[in-house]
Symmetry: C2
Subunit: 164 residues, 2 copies
């Protein structure tokens, strides 16, 4: 998680995208398969969230659309906050079996202005129904520091229209 948070920080400091990073790791060995960072603005692609980048690139590397395919080690998605509704769906389809996040509270939306969509209160139970477990609150304060740094930078928050 520390590496993922550091990449989220570097992604705003280097002006290469939004304040998010994600990694696909092998659950048991902890081996990194692929890191991804938010690339929406530089790639002109609103779906290029860190989670979608990490999942898609890991699937390219492993040459399989299913990270939970038979014979494969279990994979986990590590990300510096609770995924938005698009990325929760992407996780559901990815075949990853575990999600580790630095936090899931309102801090992200409050500090940065991003709209995370209509995530239901029972999202963890919904993932559990699909055999995806969740570890929350890992290095929370360090992740929040990056959101404050992003907010202070005055960077553009894309598509947070919310009624406009």
């Amino acid at each position: 998680m520390a590496a993922v948070i550091e990449f989220s920080r570097q992604n705003i400091r280097q002006e290469t995208g939004g304040p998010f990073a994600a990694g696909i790791f092998e659950k048991e060995s902890g081996r990194l398969v692929m890191l991804g960072v938010n690339r929406v603005m530089p790639l002109n692609c609103s779906s290029a969230h860190a989670e979608v980048m990490a999942i898609s690139l890991a699937q390219q590397k492993l040459e399989n659309f299913d990270l939970g395919a038979p014979g494969m080690p279990e994979h986990e998605l590590v990300v510096n906050w609770r995924p938005c509704i698009m990325c929760l769906g992407a996780l559901m389809w990815s075949g990853a079996r575990h999600l580790t996040i630095a936090g899931s509270g309102p801090e992200l939306e409050e500090i940065t202005g991003f709209d995370e969509g209509f995530v239901p209160d029972d999202w963890q139970a919904q993932l559990a129904l699909r055999s995806i477990s969740v570890t929350d609150n890992m290095l929370t304060e360090k992740a929040v520091e990056v959101f404050y740094e992003f907010a202070k930078s005055g960077s553009h928050v894309y598509n947070a229209r919310q009624g406009s």
Copy 2:
């Protein structure tokens, strides 16, 4: 919509992906910007749903991550069924202002076995909060015919684990 449904049919007949197609159109003129079809299995990418393909390719063509950017005509996403939770999120981030679908009932999941995720009952109201309007039930029967054709084909339904 007829063209989108025909592409969804050809995508299974040509064995180029799942039974889904989507298009980004200019709302007022009806001009097609980009068509996309489900490419999950051939691309080894679980996020390559028709909606994400159409949105991402349209954004590449228009060189903008925001299909609702100032100075642009309003865009709509046309798709042959209610998007899954990932694609509803992708729509929310895309900047498109309207969604037209052939149907939104349980038929898709019942006939094909796909898991559309934890879509809340008030998803249309949630989109409306973000200034995205919805037209439902356009050529419903024709869309459902394709799902039956897919189910009969015995094609693989990926990642519909639902607890396994």
